[in-house]
Symmetry: C2
Subunit: 194 residues, 2 copies
């Protein structure tokens, strides 16, 4: 049975993950049941996220362990999309990303970097690592910085913690005279609904 | 004998310190002799600096050990000026400054903070410390952030390293919705030339 809303037939639902389905390692109450109802409704379901602190595989494993019926092909985090774009443009990144997410860049050439990619590196946002990313940009004739998000902060374990956006802004300010090409990767993915 | 330049009598000379008199712990060639000539000329000499990684006392000791004839009363770094301003306005800072400079804040009440002061904290610009400064600002009805400088970077031991400005910009971005009062302390000091 087709589902309609405001005169349009709804064919698919795209769900956010962190803060919508789960938070701080716990399923949000009612979310597992809600996803099951959507899956049983015949709608196409995709899961989009700006999560960059884990690999896609680990994120999907966590969701499955929380009871969500989800498979990897239907989950769209920023890093796989970033990797596709890097390959298309022959870009070799210097990475400032979370250690637990770095495996998702394994198929990307990281030698002799010609751009910088930052994600939600959390505790790896040290003075040394931010300096290294900056020094890398300064060595480039055309500095290119990709940020996997521009969020300011989010809540974790009841506390507000910094997101990648703060560090994106710091690097953007540092490179102002060199006019970098700042790209925030928001929705570069395409969803296959066939 | 009075010294004139472009029709004006010159009464005083104000000298920068880091990058002008010394760099990376070494006197810059000819600078000790130049300062001596100025001191012997009868001009008033003052030393201004945006240095916030050491106390004024340690900075003066370093200059003296490098051969400069300088006494503490003639050296004007940002922190003593910042302290005066904090006292005048009954502000109690949460500090994100270099450990070697923190002693210069000893006479300032730091309990129950109602503002944040950042300086060139170098390696103490960790994710945790920046998060703490941000959380402190978020708790204030009227968030006030003072930055002891807005420099982007400087050279040390032949390498470009980040200055306080990058982190000032990150905090400024984080607090945008809360409309903070961002103050960059550039020249709040007054020089006593009498």
């Amino acid at each position: 049975m087709a589902i309609h809303h405001l005169g349009h037939e709804i064919k698919a639902v795209i769900l956010d993950i962190t803060g919508v389905l789960k938070e701080s390692g716990q399923a949000i109450e009612g979310s597992v049941e809600a996803v099951n109802r959507l899956l049983n409704s015949g709608l196409q379901i995709r899961f989009c996220t700006n999560e960059t602190t884990v690999t896609r595989k680990d994120l999907v494993s966590e969701l499955q362990s929380l009871g969500f019926l989800v498979d990897e092909a239907k989950v769209f985090p920023p890093i796989p999309a970033m990797c596709r774009l890097l390959k298309e443009r022959n870009l070799r990144p210097h990475l400032l990303v979370h250690q637990d997410a770095v495996a998702d860049f394994s198929e990307v050439d990281q030698s002799d970097p010609n751009c910088v990619v930052i994600g939600d590196a959390t505790h790896e946002f040290t003075y040394e690592n931010l300096s290294k990313a900056f020094q890398c940009l300064m060595l480039l004739d055309q500095p290119i910085l990709f940020s996997l998000g521009k969020g300011k902060y989010y809540q974790e374990h009841g506390e507000l913690v910094l997101d990648a956006g703060a560090y994106m802004k710091a690097l953007e300010f540092l490179m102002t005279t060199a006019e970098p090409s700042i790209k925030t990767l928001l929705r570069p993915w395409t969803l296959d609904l066939t």
